[in-house]
Symmetry: C3
Subunit: 204 residues, 3 copies
């Protein structure tokens, strides 16, 4: 028995999780900004739900565009109004810190030109930017920009994209005006997550 | 007849428009920010109306100062509330893009210290800054700063003025705390427009 | 008599104020931003009141945290709503300029990550940042940052601290996530003020 158990542990060591144990889903914080591409956010959310544990953060401006009814009811959704709802005194948990700690990965899609500039300058005036400002960059963050072609061509866009790259934020390619296909965004993040997991487990 | 017509065309070539054809007025987007100098905005607007087709954009903060009643009723006026009023679905026209495309020239007078900093950092959180963020800088943009002397002397003011110059935005001289005389602003923009037109028509 | 008077004047020259004349208290503008450490603001205010003439500026976000009842009623308190309350026409006094002129020293404690970024970029969208934007840096300004450890470790924090140091703003040490002890903050500012006064009076 002892020997077979050791063998089992040995096997476990290399695969990290025994095949019969359903692996825990990655915890992903999925956020939307206020731009027309946020119309696709509910679809994007459902793509991620196929393989991840998702919580949603919506800026005030995004709520005009996001199809809330298209997001399953079991998904926790947070807006600015929730930020200090239950906070009473020093030491109480603070929502943007709780969410930054909960998430293994953060994905902002679509990322508007306005929120892009806020991230670059370290603004933390709403729930989404507070989470980004409190993010631990040893954990991956992905953004998919979406803006009108005119805005995209503005000279500041390139500078801002360089700045967020400097911060360690991943720009989901191709960075362009239009929001990428929701499936493509979800798959890009998943591929990166799987590689990361394999690396941590010593498989690769 | 043929010969006289050719002569006429020849003459037209050099003046671009025959004298009896009223030339189309240039389309100017005139915007005001929230600072005390915006009290002069209605007068400025009337100066521009003498020679240009004008649409007006007002920030929320400017509305405390601008004398709305002093602006002729036929002038279209846009505020943040209009931005998404008629927008329903992906593909519908977006107001800040429509206005950026409509205008041949953009003039921000007065430009407050706050909006100056927003332009420099590429913010697009309201209608005015969204238009600026989507502006095609092959078309001229003019700004006339106006701020208290104390604000004007702040070290960031000069840096911000350099940054907007880098973007290709024209600072109407003399850049100083006080808003220039409305007639002077209008004439500065008109002179620049006339030169540009003459250049395009090969006169100069 | 003449000789003794001269001696008295001579003595006065070195101490600037005769011992029996109560020296005027320094005028300090004390401001709070919206972060949990603002819970200590009323205590901080009372520390300063022991030796200074204090006026208070509160951002909208700070009002959720500040214990207003803990601030003596004789202390003038200003929020964004006051900014243009009595302003009617060009030439009327403007509150943020009045306050910037009134104060000999400005102290922002706690300074949140968000307002830190606003100061760095020269924003003047609310009463507090308008005063900072109009500040005459020949007069001292002190800030005591306060933010969650996660936010504190973000790479932009250091850059922003360097930028405000460049502006001539004093960061009350140790610059860290937690707000310093109110007594320590008050004493740091007082020590600096006393040194400055002694220097101006030629004692040191």
């Amino acid at each position: 028995m002892a020997s077979s158990s050791a063998t089992l542990l040995g096997k476990r060591k290399s695969t990290a999780l025994a095949p019969h144990v359903a692996p825990r889903k990655p915890r992903i914080l999925l956020a939307a900004c206020g731009c027309v591409a946020a119309k696709k956010f509910a679809i994007l959310c459902n793509c991620f739900l196929k393989w991840a544990d998702v919580k949603v953060v919506l800026t005030k401006a995004s709520q005009r565009f996001v199809d809330i009814a298209g997001i399953p009811q079991f998904v926790a959704m947070y807006t600015d109004g929730y930020e200090w709802l239950s906070w009473k005194r020093l030491g109480d948990p603070v929502l943007h810190i709780e969410l930054a700690n909960w998430a293994e990965i953060m994905v902002i899609a679509p990322l508007s030109a306005d929120t892009l500039s806020k991230i670059v300058r370290g603004s933390s005036g709403n729930l989404l930017t507070s989470i980004v400002r409190a993010w631990d960059y040893s954990k991956p963050m992905f953004v998919a920009t979406a803006m009108n072609t005119l805005m995209w061509r503005h000279p500041l866009t390139e500078r801002h994209c360089i700045s967020i790259d400097d911060l360690g934020i991943n720009l989901i390619p191709p960075p362009a005006g239009e929001l990428d296909d929701p499936d493509f965004i979800s798959n890009t993040v998943r591929l990166s997550y799987d590689k990361r997991m394999q690396k941590q487990q010593g498989v690769v």
